[in-house]
Amino acid sequence: MFEEILEFLILGLVLGGIYAMFAVGLTLIFGVLDIVNVAHGEFLAIGGYALYIAMVVLGLPAAVGLVVAPVAVFVLGLAVYPLLFAPLQKRLGRRAPGPLFLVLTLGLSALLQNSLLAIAGGEFLSVPPAVKGGLDLSFTYISGQRLLILAVAGASLGLLFLFLRFHRQGMAIRAVAQNPAAAQSVGIPLGRIFTLTIALACGLAGLAGALIAPLFSVYPAVGFTLTIKAFAITILGGMGNLLGALVASLIIATLEALSVIVIPSEWQNAIAFGTMILVLLVRPQGLFGKKP
């Protein structure tokens, strides 16, 4: 029993790493732009497709694919603010955005997801794992891909936190999140920071998509379920709170992994949604948030 729990805990940690890479980006966009990006999952899917193209279509080594995929999604993410968000912000002026950005990103999600469906078809494309072999613990076996996920998730999130903490542009991102007017007064151009923030978050999602591609295959809707789950995570962690999102990712993933012991696996997804609704009703600011 104990070993079983330990095994699921490790699985939960791996899953939590993926959730975190995704949810931290989502909550970063929310913190800086006050926008919930419903289309975030599609960038994860595009990351998976980019890896598929690099590894399976072009036959490049996995290491190259794992670099190309996030970079490609980062570049795509650079277009989101100037092309979509900035025009709507401009039209709204000082009026409250209300739910219009949600409708916009929901439309973007439908557009991207179905474009992928039209281009790549609906089938599940499998990608070979980036690393072979694995780690044989006496009670369980952890595949190399899972270990890679843990390492890359840890490293990329660590780099992001260091970037935000110490880099000039990272500090600017935090400054804009805290006080956009003051940020402008010290010379920070809002538009460029918004563009950079979204692209960073998208790149991180693209990397996550490339990492899970060998485990879950690549298909157009691979990101959407995760998006909804990530909403639950960001709400649990307090919207806009990066560390909160990281911790909440690990909590939700561990709960999901452990739940298999108690409830049928079809109901696994209900944990995230149930938690989200519970948190919104009991403590809407999340575990670590200030006021909502």
């Binding site: 003051a182 940020a183 402008q184 010290v186 809002l190």
Partner: protein, 237 residues
């Protein structure tokens, strides 16, 4: 150096400023006073680029400012201290100062500038790692002023530097401002505390209902019975 001519501005379609004019000469302290709702803060926001003017021109050292965003305006050498200070409350004192130098390309220049500021404000060196939001109101205001100094501005715009401060702290902040002015920085200050600004400013501009009502030296203002009655809330007798 700063010249505002015929500027009308406001929010949406609501015009608050009507053809306002204003000048600041190098090294000068200019105060803007007037009753609540006269458009004083609106004027500062328009000069600094937060609000685009409907008409009129704003120039700084013969370069056009209107139509530029705040981050572009500050790069011309203008500092801005918002009404509540506008510091980054969740960041450390040091980080606030580093961000003050965001527009400088070289990290070395930023560090040198911050070193100078620490020499000028030793208490910030002692508290460099403290959360800016945990500073007292007066210190937060001083930090906001210090933050503008990183880029060595030639003009600093301040929106009510004395608001919500005790008389002692008001004297302190105005002492700091006087020091800055002696080092050659021009100041444009919106102030509710009329007595205080009359003591410091070389010239005063009075706004009323979004229009220029008076412009002149502090002494001229003090001598004008009508202005005193209207804007200083004193009896002329």
């Amino acid at each position: 150096m700063l010249s505002v001519q015929g500027v009308s501005a406001g929010y949406g379609r609501l015009e608050i400023l009507h053809k306002v004019a204003l000048d600041v000469a190098p090294g000068e302290i200019v105060g803007i006073i007037g009753p609540n709702g006269a458009g004083k803060s609106t004027l500062l926001k328009t000069i600094f680029g937060y609000l685009p003017p409907f008409e009129g021109t704003v120039t700084f050292e013969n370069q056009t400012l209107q139509g530029r965003s705040p981050d572009q305006v500050m790069r011309r050498g203008i500092g801005y201290v918002a009404q509540a200070g506008g510091i980054f409350a969740d960041m450390s004192v040091h980080e606030n100062l580093v961000l003050g130098g965001y527009s400088l390309k070289s990290a070395r220049a930023v560090n040198a500038a911050i070193e100078k500021i620490y020499a000028q404000f030793p208490r910030f060196r002692d508290r460099s790692r403290q959360r800016a939001g945990s500073l007292s109101g007066g210190e937060q205001r001083a930090l906001a002023v210090a933050r503008t100094l990183v880029i060595s501005p030639r003009l600093i715009i301040l929106d009510e530097p004395s608001a919500a401060l005790s008389p002692r702290l008001i004297e302190e902040i105005y002492g700091t401002l006087a020091d800055l002015n002696r080092s050659g920085i021009a100041l444009l200050i919106v102030e509710q505390n009329v007595r205080r600004i009359l003591d410091s400013a070389h010239r005063v501009v009075v706004l009323d209902m979004g229009r220029n009502a008076f412009a002149g030296s502090s002494d001229e203002l003090r001598r004008s019975d009508r202005i005193r009655r209207l804007y200083l809330g004193e009896d002329a007798g």
